[in-house]
């Protein structure tokens, strides 16, 4: 289930948007719960837990862009979509990492593509885990906590986001099949990387969260860059 929050001062616009979201949920078999608040002030003052936020820009008091800036000070992850008739502001959406924007009056077809994109982002690693068979027993690890996995002498070393390392007796290809997540990518014969944790691509080197670097093999370079292109573009 995903919680959808609409921040919209006009009742009619909010109703249209809500109807479109529910129509999408019905047609795609998604469980979406919509809630609505009227002002950005209310949004910033109260706690409104949400997985997806649709924010009108032209709001009275604090406008949508300012509210988004406030949101990003404590939440960098929640997908944000602007709903506006002021397209020139929406272009600036990258400043608050907005995922998309929809021009008013909202049409169902516009919303479909946007919600597809939002749900793709949410599903990358959300809540997924994998079981790692270590020498001390089985450890359940969240996929988003794995930075990269490398093959070392018939073992796999899982490098986690907190800097720790888990060693498991398994093969990289076996793990690759079991991961079933679009966020993981084989970059060389002996290494799989979580795309979410790439910080810098410099030549044939990937710098990862925590400061470690891994090399991209020459034969995989094109596939890696192509996948990164899809990942950054939000196509996967």
């Amino acid at each position: 289930m995903y919680r959808v929050l609409l921040v919209e001062d006009e009742e009619h616009a909010a109703t249209v948007l809500s109807d479109c979201v529910m129509r999408y949920a019905e047609s795609r078999g998604e469980d979406l719960r919509v809630s609505w608040i009227r002002s950005a002030l209310e949004f910033s003052a109260e706690s409104h837990p949400a997985d997806i936020i649709f924010m009108d820009i032209d709001l009275p008091g604090i406008n949508g862009m300012e509210a988004a800036e406030l949101l990003r000070t404590y939440d960098e992850e929640t997908p944000l979509v602007f709903v506006t008739n002021l397209a020139q502001y929406a272009v600036k959406g990258y400043e608050v990492d907005a995922l998309d924007f929809i021009v008013k009056p909202v049409r169902y077809n516009d919303l479909v593509m946007t919600l597809d994109r939002v749900l793709r982002r949410l599903r990358r690693t959300r809540g997924r885990t994998t079981a790692v068979q270590t020498h001390d027993g089985v450890r359940v690890v969240s996929l988003s906590d794995i930075v990269y996995v490398e093959a070392l002498n018939h073992n796999l070393a899982f490098h986690l986001v907190d800097g720790s390392e888990l060693v498991s007796r398994a093969t990289l290809s076996g793990l690759e099949e079991g991961l079933e997540s679009s966020s993981f990518l084989r970059v060389s014969k002996s290494c799989i990387v979580n795309l979410e944790h790439i910080r810098l691509i410099s030549g044939d080197e990937l710098k990862l969260t925590g400061g470690d670097s891994v090399w991209v093999s020459r034969s995989r370079r094109k596939v890696v860059l192509s996948t990164v292109a899809d990942f950054l573009g939000g196509s996967i």
Partner: protein, 437 residues
Amino acid sequence: MDDKVQAFYTIIKLTVAIVLFSHTLPHRERLGLRISFVAVGAALVSFAGFSSGFTMYPPLTDFSSYLIGILSFLVVLSLMLVGQLTIYRNSLLCSLFCCSMAYSLENFSSEVERCVAMIFQFPSYPPPIVLGSLRYWLVSSVIFLVGYSVLIRRIEKSGLRQIDDPAMVLALVLAIMVNMVFDLIVKELGVSDIAVHYVVLLNVVYLSLCVFIMYAEFEIVYNRRLEIGIAAEKELREAQTRQYDLTLSNIEAINAKCHAIRHRIYQLEEGSEIVSSDELAELAQEISIYDTKIKTGNDALDVVIAERGLVCEQWGIVLACIADGSALDFVDSPDLQPLVGGILGAATAVVRGIESRDARRISLHVGANMGMTSVHVECPCAHQFDLGDDPVGSESSRDLRAAIDRYEGILSSKVVDGTYHLNVLLPRPHGRGLKLD
């Protein structure tokens, strides 16, 4: 001079010649490590060769000895190629060009040195090593200096990276092999009891061959540059034509819109005296399209998006963009039209195939991440659309692909669940990459 000293000097000269021909090419990463690797590798190979009795100039007794001689030259040429490719980031053809030119220059300088030795002979043979070396390096330095001024600098101006004609480069490699045979014969005859005028004649032919090979290789690069220049000019003319068509189309769109607005105003004038607020709002909405100035932080990008926005408007396509213009600040302004304009043009071609005008929408995202700039477009596509119809593979997207290649970027496109995705990834120039913390 001793054969081993001679071979050692030859290796040093070849190395210097390769560096002279290649020094304007970009280096690979971890240069120090790569140079050390090549130096150690060359030392080990040389040591192994010398200790196993290898000689660069074996005595020519029969056909097989010629074959061994040529093979040994080919081995040296191959090792030069490996070394050059290890250090410099260039194509195999470009590397082959640099190495074969370096080989010809080295041969030429050695041959000149041998001719000088024939004319100004030392009182004793073999000459003392210090004097022999002094003359050898003096002659070699002069030839290299002349070669650099007359040949290498001109080649640099013509652009080494433009070498992409395998047939011509391979023809030259064959010429180099003929040169190798001559090299062996001349050296062999130089120490045999053949009449001096034959030796002089052969030396003249050999020197001429060296000069011809270098001249022919230079001509290849020069002609290639001319060809590229002509092609670029042709491409520019085509781009200007396309730009003209686009501008014309925009003017038509604006005229049509203005005509519609004027018509609406006439209607209002002829109607009731009181104009309703709804009618005014509708009119304001019509005009607002031209008030909406896109501001991405990159003026050239703003123009491209605004122009394409008008084209989209004509086709009833909603263009939604979230763009950080500064992410494309390393792209030259004239390249933004074929790049971003080309991407949006490809998406427009896909969306036009959708019957329902309500479903026509293009979403553009431009941003910087991971030290790369990502340009992403997605739009709905008709059900029958497959990648065989992909506009980025067509002739009309040649400019787009060329622009991406120019910035060493990558393009990927796919169709997922009725949505067409087009992603372009461009590496940001060194030092301008974003580091995420």
